[in-house]
């Protein structure tokens, strides 16, 4: 279906103040959506209570309202501006909740405003844990065994039946608070009590914990003709048990066979097609049992989410921009790939680089906060790095954290003994990746580390490769003894000049830079073009790396 010309004026709801779990991602999607709709000649009105956003810039929308995100504000806008439709999927949970509230008050109906890009019933089905489970079971899609308990006794009975490890998820609490893992019998009673008390209706879901399973996330787009594409597949470096927002994540998936991937793709498409009636972005999470490669569905978010912004940047595919066009009637196969401008928007991006996203925590600003990572997101931001190898992207990410890490190597060392490190690594913390490196240096085996952390071996091998290069660098010792080929190898593995200088004797980053310049080991730039260079790109963006030659638009 082409553009729905009855929509001439659209209201976009922002996500309000920046909080953990809902940050500038929604500013990014809101601004993209606004531009996308204005391209179609649609007037855009924006409401957000947060003035420190790009989307509230007068250049982004026709009308900008800096008002509290309340039904009263919406009513005021509708009285002042002729609005045909509201797009509530760009402002996270805040915007969706406000739309639902306004819907219940009958305000949209009163002003004859249509909700586009969303199906409220679908949202409820996706977000209510019970409804989600029922729906998955109906479709024959595996989920973790679980049952609802309303008392300690009931909880204990269910625990007996399902078996440890378990996750206790209190009903109707925000952001996973009050929930927790039960890894041994003596933790059960405390966890059940905490969960029941946290829930306003004294109810918890007692669920089998698939700790140690691998976690994957798929970003999809769907149009009103039921065409679905997978924009990006993201693999979590950290296995199940840590909130995706607090996990180091990698794209494309690094350890996924085609058989396992197609199973996920098929399942995600089935889920999306059976989920109400809406056109736009969606995100599906799966856990994969590494021993059998069976998968279970974890959750589905039928809206542009935090991870959509990451997937957009990771692939070059502007998810929010296209989702907005789908909401006003277009189908995917009627739109153009925005980067090549010659090929179709209905395709699945191919990546010829590696993306590493690393969360940024600020525990030093939250004195006394528990720094164990788990069900509740605790990071305050994230960095994304691009490289032509995983070590390069990983080290670039470390260098971008704006702490004292100059790469995976030189962050303040814990000086823990091997036994202490092994104990420490049992509990996931913000600095786990750095401690893993220390543990490998201390000679702790990959097998042991895998048992302690459940992190896939492939990632541990990569860290070991970084260590090998660092040790060789140390053995060489002096900058002047390094051959240019080896310097190039170091740069390909993501070592920064500062990091190299630290490893060598009596050396400054400037000297490393001068050495590189003199020996032709210099940075070049490659494109993020959605298509692995298959087609010419008109509006790509670039990342730096060390191989071959730079490219130009």
């Amino acid at each position: 279906m082409p553009l729905d010309t009855s929509i001439k004026s659209v209201l976009i709801i922002g996500s309000g103040p920046i909080v953990i779990g809902q940050a500038c991602e929604f500013d990014y999607s809101g601004s993209q959506a606004a531009r996308s709709l204005r391209e179609e000649g649609i007037k855009v009105t924006l409401i957000n209570s947060n003035p420190a956003t790009i989307m509230t810039d007068k250049l982004v929308a026709d009308n900008v309202y800096l008002l509290p995100l309340t039904p009263e504000s919406i009513e005021r806008i509708l009285e002042e501006v002729q609005i045909d439709a509201v797009l509530p999927t760009m402002g996270g949970q805040t915007a969706l909740n406000l739309s639902k509230e306004v819907e219940e008050l009958g305000i949209w109906e009163k002003f004859n405003v249509r909700l586009i890009g969303v199906d409220i019933k679908a949202i409820d089905k996706a977000e209510d844990r019970d409804l989600f489970r029922e729906w998955m079971i109906e479709m024959g899609i595996p989920v973790a065994p679980a049952r609802v308990a309303n008392s300690l006794l009931e909880g204990k009975e269910i625990a007996q039946e399902i078996g440890i490890p378990l996750v206790i998820r209190p009903s109707f609490t925000l952001g996973g608070s009050g929930g927790g893992f039960v890894k041994s019998k003596d933790e059960l009673e405390a966890a059940l009590n905490a969960g029941l008390n946290a829930s306003p209706i004294h109810e918890v879901l007692v669920e089998k914990a698939v700790l140690g399973w691998k976690e994957f996330e798929l970003e999809l787009l769907r149009d009103s003709a039921d065409n679905v594409v997978i924009i990006c597949t993201v693999e979590n470096f950290d296995p199940m048990g840590i909130h995706t927002g607090d996990s180091i994540t990698v794209a494309p998936a690094m350890t996924l066979s085609d058989t396992a991937f197609q199973l996920m793709r098929n399942t995600a498409i089935d889920m999306m097609r059976s989920l109400g009636n809406f056109a736009g972005g969606c995100n599906v999470q799966f856990a994969l049992n590494p021993e059998t490669e069976e998968i279970i569905a974890i959750e589905i978010n039928p809206r542009v989410s935090r991870s959509s912004a990451l997937a957009s940047k990771a692939t070059g595919y502007p998810i929010a921009k296209i989702a907005a066009k789908l909401a006003v009637g277009y189908n995917l196969d009627e739109l153009q790939n925005q980067i090549t401008q010659t090929t179709s928007a209905y395709f699945e991006p191919a990546l010829d680089y590696v993306i590493v996203k690393m969360p940024r925590w600020n525990f030093d600003k939250f004195k006394g906060a528990d720094d164990t990572l788990g069900l509740q997101m605790k990071s305050v931001g994230e960095v994304m790095a691009i490289g032509r190898s995983f070590p390069e992207a990983l080290q670039k990410a470390c260098q971008s954290l704006e702490n004292n890490a100059t790469g995976l190597t030189s962050i303040s060392r814990s000086k823990m003994r091997p036994e202490e490190l092994m104990e420490y690594l049992k509990r996931p913390t913000w600095d786990r990746i750095f401690r893993l490196k220390e543990a490998l240096e201390a000679g702790i085996s990959i097998k042991t580390l895998r048992e302690l952390t459940h992190i896939d071996r492939w990632f541990l091998y990569q860290i070991q490769d970084i260590i090998k290069v660092e040790q060789q660098l140390k053995a060489i010792g002096n900058l002047n003894d390094i051959q240019p080929e080896f310097m190039l190898e170091c740069k390909k593995m993501g070592f920064s000049d500062e990091q190299i200088a630290t490893v060598l004797k009596d050396c400054t980053p400037e000297q490393v830079y001068d050495y590189r310049k003199a020996n032709g080991v210099t940075r070049i730039y490659k494109m993020v073009d959605t298509c692995s260079a298959e087609f010419a790109a008109v509006t790509p963006y670039f990342y730096s790396t060390f191989e071959g030659k730079s490219e130009k638009v």
């Binding site: 179709s344 209905y346 032509r388």
Partner: protein, 369 residues
């Protein structure tokens, strides 16, 4: 990879004289053929064993291959069919609990010469602009003139007939012999999963060597005829075009995939042509013009059918179109129960979006009974 014992260097020389450097991997040696690239991010083992890649020097655009090792089940034929492999990173240490070995051992066991640590992105851009051409990779010859001389001996892909070299040498059966339907399959380099997709839909298959006369396929008294995918230039296969013509005359339900599609078109008098650099990957968008639905497809072809002649042909209906370059992806013969697609509905690797075509074929057979 210390300074002293870094892996052996390897060279990649293109027909137009462009030289790329990288590191040796797999078997030490020299190998040459036509260069092509695949943009898929999963399924390297299925790709390497796909008979349609016979004679090809393959660039994998994705940054890594080998991460999840190899598995005996993930093959499309019984050996590696690519002639040489060009990659950015091939991982030495893999991780997959159900894997049966490493990619490195697998490549070595299959005598594949590979080169890695190549600036594959620049290389792909070069091929995209200049078109497919022959190339040579070597981990033993470092003299450029010697490489040039070796490369000059390699015939161009255009005009090359390869199917008869890789097809089964004797007919064989596949599937349940008590199945309700029988299909004769002409093996021009058939992928295992095509046979599987047909068999699991209640058919019993007899698979014939490439140069089998049409009458032998008909002697099986099949309910349907299937013409497989395969390597090489369809224009160099007059024997197969003649077979398809005879089979069409028998008016049996007919389905062709990839090379089978090109041969159906050829039998109808449509010329084929060598594409600039082909379509290879798991993300090619195709629109079904009959249903209006779109599908993401697996593709692997370097030749196509002439669009103008197809559009103007009175007996041919175009059923599928590529949304990227508008090339023809599927046709149907108006007065016969025959259709074909340029892409790979059996996928492996790739999306399952187009598996419905096998159902369509079975429905056509049942309708015809």
């Amino acid at each position: 990879m210390s300074q002293e014992n870094s892996p052996a260097q390897a060279l990649l020389l293109l027909e137009d004289g462009t030289l790329f450097r990288g590191k040796a991997y797999g078997k030490t040696g020299t190998t040459a053929g036509e260069i092509c690239f695949n943009t898929g991010m999963t399924g390297y083992q299925e790709v390497f064993t796909d008979p349609s890649y016979t004679g090809q020097m393959l660039i994998m655009n994705t940054c890594y291959i080998g991460n999840y090792g190899v598995n005996e089940a993930d093959v499309e034929s019984d050996s590696v069919k690519i002639r040489g492999l060009i990659c950015k990173n091939i991982t030495k240490r893999y991780s997959r609990m159900v894997a049966t070995g490493s990619l490195e051992d697998y490549l070595s066991a299959n005598n594949i010469v590979a080169i890695q640590d190549v600036d594959t992105r620049s290389l792909v851009q070069h091929i995209r602009q200049k078109g497919a051409m022959n190339c040579i990779i070597s981990s033993e010859i470092s003299d450029i003139d010697t490489l040039k001389a070796e490369l000059a001996k390699v015939p161009p892909m255009e005009g090359l007939e390869l199917s008869s070299q890789i097809s089964t040498t004797a007919p064989y059966y596949y599937g349940d012999k008590d199945a309700a339907l029988k299909i004769s399959v002409l093996d021009l380099g058939v992928k295992k999963n095509i046979l599987q997709c047909l068999a699991e839909r209640g058919t019993y298959l007899k698979v014939f060597p490439a140069k089998t006369p049409a009458q032998e396929l008909l002697d099986f008294q099949p309910d349907g005829i299937f013409i497989s995918n395969g390597p090489g230039d369809p224009a160099s296969m007059p024997y197969a075009i003649a077979t398809v013509k005879e089979l069409l005359a028998a008016n049996k339900p007919f389905f062709g995939i990839c090379l089978g599609h090109q041969l159906l078109a050829s039998a109808m008098g449509i010329p084929t042509f060598k594409m600039q650099h082909g379509h290879r990957g798991l993300n090619h968008p195709v629109k079904n013009l009959i249903t209006g639905r779109s599908e993401i497809t697996t593709q692997n072809h370097g030749f196509g059918i002439e669009p103008e002649a197809t559009r103007n042909h009175p007996d041919i209906e175009i059923t599928h179109l590529n949304l990227n370059d508008q090339s023809i992806e599927g046709i149907r013969i108006k007065n016969k129960p025959a259709f074909s697609v340029q892409y790979h509905p059996e996928s492996t690797p790739g999306p399952f979006d187009s598996r419905y075509l096998f159902d369509d074929f079975i429905a056509m057979i049942r309708q015809h009974q």
